[in-house]
């Protein structure tokens, strides 16, 4: 066993769970519920182990460096994985009862790709990890039973195809850009060219790579796939899709821009600022007229990615810390809101805002949970989203990006309209259905976990903030 293998302990453990699930499914028909719980408990064990096992170190030739920075993201992805599995169990049992194992294995494979992303320092490894994260997502998107209820499979096929075409095109963009950058520098290391002035060809390559990343994290103007995919794919999976790959993309983006290409910031910083502003504008303004909860949340997610990119534009250690604090807050909040929408829609039959209206009469606690999540997304004080938005804008202000801060503040006032209208219709309006909401234990557990994280971190943001700061300083100070 090579002496550096311990840095991949967590990834190998997740891979082990995937193999175990496949094996159990092949040997005995356990059913969705047992396999789902097995996966969730396994991931919890890996998460606990991440606090107990020594993981710092680096692989030969420095292609992979593990440390506090990587651990922060890996724990976040494990949390997202646990929530994703718990949220899907009931859906798997009722809709795709005969093949739950593949769903779980694909989810775990994607998780391994994400967990690798934060530590890569080599372009080849980065591309492979990115695709390991991405390819299972295309399949999961279209994972509705072929003979399922009426329009569901058609929509799922459409969602999968749209995600695939944009995903594959963005891979091609990234690879073409990379070919120019790597070809000119003659090395596949993430450390870019030494001088601030690069040739025109390398510059074009860098911007193409940035556009490719823009597609992956769903930032405007590369966001077209988001609303359609969110509307068509299975909702419990969309909850995962809307947070985890974006956190993965962010981790890779930080490593590439602020470690590899930090000397060429005059080239990419203006482009990044424009993407950030455009995401906030497009996301918040297009969310206003939406009638479908998933499309609305899709556009709101585009806006939230804009805020993360604002923190990256600051190009400071503090900015990185705030960006990763923001993404952690976003993971729990957005996961929660999608799972509540899923629980409500499973009973009323649709995801439109009209059908979610009056949720508090059908289930007071789900209504209250939805209210908390929406207020956190809107950035109302004492939910974690408030601190996240505040810190991000503060970091940008200290870096002198006043115009971005003003844009962000103005657009978050616009965002209040649609977030609060969702909250209002949950409590005030009469819904179409008066049937009480019934949801299974795993789904309820996942929602409660998200709720606990959003409220807990809203009241005590200190520990997470300290972790994020530690991770960012570990990132800035090398391994």
């Amino acid at each position: 066993m090579p002496p550096w293998l311990h840095i991949f302990t967590l990834e190998l453990a997740v891979l082990g769970i995937a193999l175990l699930v496949l094996l159990c499914d092949a040997l005995s028909p356990l059913g969705a519920r047992a396999l789902g719980w097995l996966t969730a408990i396994g991931l919890v064990a890996v998460l606990v182990a991440s606090f107990a096992v020594e993981l710092a170190g680096s692989a030969p030739h420095g292609v992979y460096v593990s440390g506090a920075w990587v651990l922060y993201f890996q724990r976040l992805f494990l949390c997202a994985g646990i929530l994703g599995v718990l949220g899907s169990i009931d859906w798997l049992e009722t809709r795709v009862a005969r093949r739950p194992a593949e769903y779980l294995v694909l989810l775990l494979a994607s998780l391994v790709g994400m967990m690798l992303l934060a530590g890569v320092r080599d372009w080849v490894l980065l591309v492979v990890a990115f695709e390991l994260m991405g390819i299972p997502l295309y399949v999961l998107c279209a994972y509705a039973k072929l003979d399922g209820p009426a329009r569901e499979p058609k929509l799922a096929a459409e969602a999968g195809l749209k995600l695939f075409v944009t995903g594959a095109a963005s891979t091609a963009l990234t690879l073409f850009g990379l070919a120019l950058v790597v070809g000119a520098s003659g090395s596949s290391s993430l450390d870019g060219p030494q001088s601030a002035n690069v040739s025109a060809l390398t510059g074009v390559g860098m911007l193409l790579v940035l556009a490719g990343f823009g597609f992956k994290i769903g930032a405007a103007p590369f966001h077209m796939w988001i609303p359609d995919t969110y509307q068509g794919a299975p909702t419990p999976f969309v909850a995962f899709l809307s947070v985890a790959p974006k956190a993965g993309g962010l981790a890779a983006l930080v490593v590439v821009l602020l470690s590899g290409w930090s000397r060429q910031h005059e080239l990419w910083a203006p482009a990044l600022a424009v993407i950030a502003a455009a995401s906030m504008a497009v996301g918040n303004l297009f969310a206003l007229p939406q009638k479908d909860a998933r499309r609305l949340l899709g556009y709101s997610g585009i806006a939230q990615m804009g805020y993360v990119l604002v923190a990256l534009c600051a190009r400071s250690e503090q900015g990185i810390a705030m960006a990763i604090f923001f993404i952690a807050s976003y993971v729990f909040t957005n996961f929660g809101v999608f799972l509540v929408v899923h629980a409500a829609a499973e009973n009323s039959g649709g995801h439109s805002l009209d059908e979610i209206a009056g949720l508090s009469r059908r289930s007071p606690w789900l209504g209250a949970a939805l209210l908390v999540f929406v207020l956190s997304l809107a950035g109302i004080p004492f939910a974690v989203g408030f601190w996240a938005k505040l810190f991000v804008l503060l970091a940008a202000y200290q870096a002198g990006l006043v115009w971005l801060v003003v844009t962000g503040v103005v657009l978050s006032v616009v965002a209040l309209f649609y977030y609060l209208s969702v909250a209002r219709s949950t409590f005030m309006a009469d819904g179409r259905s008066a049937e009480p909401v019934r949801s299974g234990l795993p789904l309820r557990a996942a929602i409660v976990l998200c709720l606990a994280a959003v409220v807990g971190l809203g009241l005590w943001p200190g520990p997470l903030l300290a972790e994020a700061t530690r991770a960012a300083s570990a990132f800035a100070g090398g391994p």
């Binding site: 390819i135 295309y138 929509l155 749209k162 995903g167 095109a169 790597v182 070809g183």
Partner: protein, 98 residues
Amino acid sequence: MTLANCILLASLLFSIGVYGLLTRRQAVAMLLCVELMLNAANIVFVSFAHFRGGPGQIFAIFALAITVAEVAVGLALVLLLYRKHGDTAIDLASETKG
């Protein structure tokens, strides 16, 4: 044959791919256009490696493997579309709206 010519060829291929992706309405044709774009990237990798050395060849092999995995999934999705609609025109897949 010079490096500049190779990059020019790759850029042309890439542009044809992008143009086709935007104008074609058949899912299979769109898949082929994505392939063109990916192969344009491989030409750049290999030509840089040929003229200047460096890790381009290795990168191209990894890129090929990734492309194969991606296209396998893509064809499966096209097949799914065909089974649901009896056709692979991408316009059939436009039922989501807002």
